[in-house]
């Protein structure tokens, strides 16, 4: 069953949080994972749920040879 908007945002946040330090997730990885559990979920809802997480600063985009969605942190090079 498709998740309501707020639940979807939390679902994605928990997914990103659980992957922190283990796997870097791309937007498409998140979409595929959500659709696996909730096949009737609208793809656009997933896109805008990610947008909400980014706009709210709870997640950030990172670039390490590809663009990923991660939990904010201070990277090593910025500590200098």
């Amino acid at each position: 069953m498709a998740l309501p908007k707020e639940e979807l945002v939390e679902y994605i946040y928990k997914m990103v949080e659980a992957a922190a330090g283990k796997k870097q997730l791309k937007a498409k990885d998140i979409e595929k994972a959500v659709l696996k559990e909730h096949p009737d979920q609208n793809k656009n809802d997933i896109k805008f749920a990610i947008k909400e997480l980014i706009d709210g600063g709870r997640c950030v985009y990172t670039y390490f040879g590809g663009s990923f969605i991660e939990i904010p942190r201070v990277e090593g090079a910025a500590k200098h």
Binding site: K26, A27, K28, K47, I50, K51, I54, D55, G57, V60, Y61, T62, Y63, F64, G65, G66, S67, E70, P72, R73, E75, A77, A78, H80
Partner: protein
């Protein structure tokens, strides 16, 4: 100022030197002085002292800022952070001087003052600022109507040729199309959601002045469908020397229609009996050679639109590949719905099946053209040739130029013919 004996050598040549420019900026910007220092150090050590990527950006955007840090922050504190900002360019890079001053003022205030007009995708590149300056700089840019361009695994800022603004050959309004598509794909431009970069370039005619066929994943190239229009009296005027070839832009005063036009046609679809020029339009591949030589005698047809090509990229292992024709002809009228739908479908297929860091052209090679055509609902067509111009690395030798200087001519089928 750091001592830069290796860089100083670059000022000695006959050409304008970036070292001279950087030194001028360094006199008022300490970070630019450190930029010269770290570059000198890299020349000496033969390794880069920059780290690329990371988490820097402005809130809400995943694109537009490229994180740069040096690994020698104690030695060069000015470039401890040296992030790059990509600013989306106006269609065909047409600025007013007021707009350029606005940009320079913002960058003088918030960055190193060093910029690059333009990056390979076409963006204005602001080189070097600190993390804390990113948001204020972005706020100043947006207040003046500028936006950030694409970076990372996102839709990159589309770019186009000058099109109908300055060129008589434009088959559609490239400027409008570039603007419309930039607006249409805003979400994908600022929020990376693709397997890798995705570039779009729009050329108004087959002369392809923005080199879309070689540099963009998606290339939209203006083309006509009907026959080339001929003014036979003007052809004779070119043959008689009354009209100058290429509008006077060649060293020749008079055109030899047989040798310069007919024999250099790549499909050999033309004939000239000394009075009348005939074109077998079914064989014409729209290379524009004859039209470029005799613009007052030949003109493209009136049924105009564009061809859609896909897949150029330059991976290190496989080598550079040109784009592949997907749709030989379609109408390019505002609001460009067909093109938007086509690009959306392609991006969907590629995002679904592409591996991390796999360009759309590489995916076509891996899964096959049939898979793409089925997914995007395009019928197979004979024009969907895989590599229109097979070798992007055709090297000319000095002997070729010497032969040409002696009057020998190059024929596309026979090589040098006389």
């Amino acid at each position: 100022m750091h001592k830069t004996p290796l860089l100083d050598q670059l000022e000695s040549g006959p050409w304008p030197s970036f070292v001279k420019d950087l030194k001028r900026v360094a006199a008022r910007k300490p970070q630019t002085a450190d930029l010269l220092g770290v570059l000198e150090r890299s020349y000496k050590d033969k390794i880069t002292h920059w780290k690329h990527g990371g988490i820097v950006g402005v809130l809400g955007y995943g694109s537009g800022i490229i994180g740069r840090y040096t690994d020698l922050p104690d030695e060069f504190p000015g470039v401890e952070h040296f992030h790059t900002i990509r600013v989306n360019h106006p269609s065909a890079w047409m600025y007013t001087t007021k707009a350029l001053r606005e940009l320079c003022d913002i960058w003088d205030e918030h960055g190193s003052s060093v910029l690059n007009m333009h990056g390979s995708t076409g963006d204005i590149i602001f080189l070097g600022t600190r993390t804390e300056e990113l948001e204020p700089c972005f706020a100043k840019l947006t207040a003046k109507g500028w936006d950030l361009g694409g970076s990372g695994s996102a839709f990159r800022s589309p770019s186009c040729c000058v099109g109908p603004a300055r060129c008589e050959w434009a088959m559609y309004d490239t400027l409008e199309a570039c603007y419309e598509l930039t607006q249409e794909f805003q979400f994908d431009l600022h929020r990376p959601s693709y397997p890798y970069k995705y570039k779009l370039k729009l050329s108004g005619c087959p002369n392809d002045c923005v080199a879309a066929v070689a540099r963009a994943d998606c290339s939209v190239i203006g083309v006509w469908k009907d026959d080339i229009r001929i003014d036979q009296s003007a052809v004779q005027a070119y043959a008689g020397g009354e009209l100058k070839p290429r509008g006077g832009a060649t060293k020749w005063d008079k055109l030899d229609i047989q040798k310069d036009v007919v024999e250099l046609c790549p499909t050999q679809c033309m004939s000239w009996d000394g009075k009348t020029l005939k074109i077998n339009n079914r064989e014409c591949n729209h290379c524009m050679h004859c039209i470029n030589l005799m613009p007052q005698a030949l003109r493209p047809g009136t049924e105009r639109g564009a061809a859609f090509l896909l897949g150029s990229h330059a991976p290190i292992l496989e080598g550079a590949q040109m784009s592949w024709v997907i749709v030989p002809f379609f109408e390019m009228e505002k609001p460009f719905d067909y093109l938007k739908e086509l690009m959306t479908n392609i991006a969907e297929w590629w995002s679904e099946h592409g591996k991390n860091r796999e360009r759309v052209g590489e995916l076509i090679l891996r899964l096959g053209m049939r898979s793409l055509l089925e997914a995007i609902g395009v019928e197979p067509a004979p024009q969907q040739v895989r590599i229109p111009r097979a070798n992007p690395f055709f090297f000319w030798h000095q002997s070729d130029f010497d032969a040409e200087a002696k009057g020998r001519r190059y024929d596309t089928r026979q090589g040098f013919v006389r």
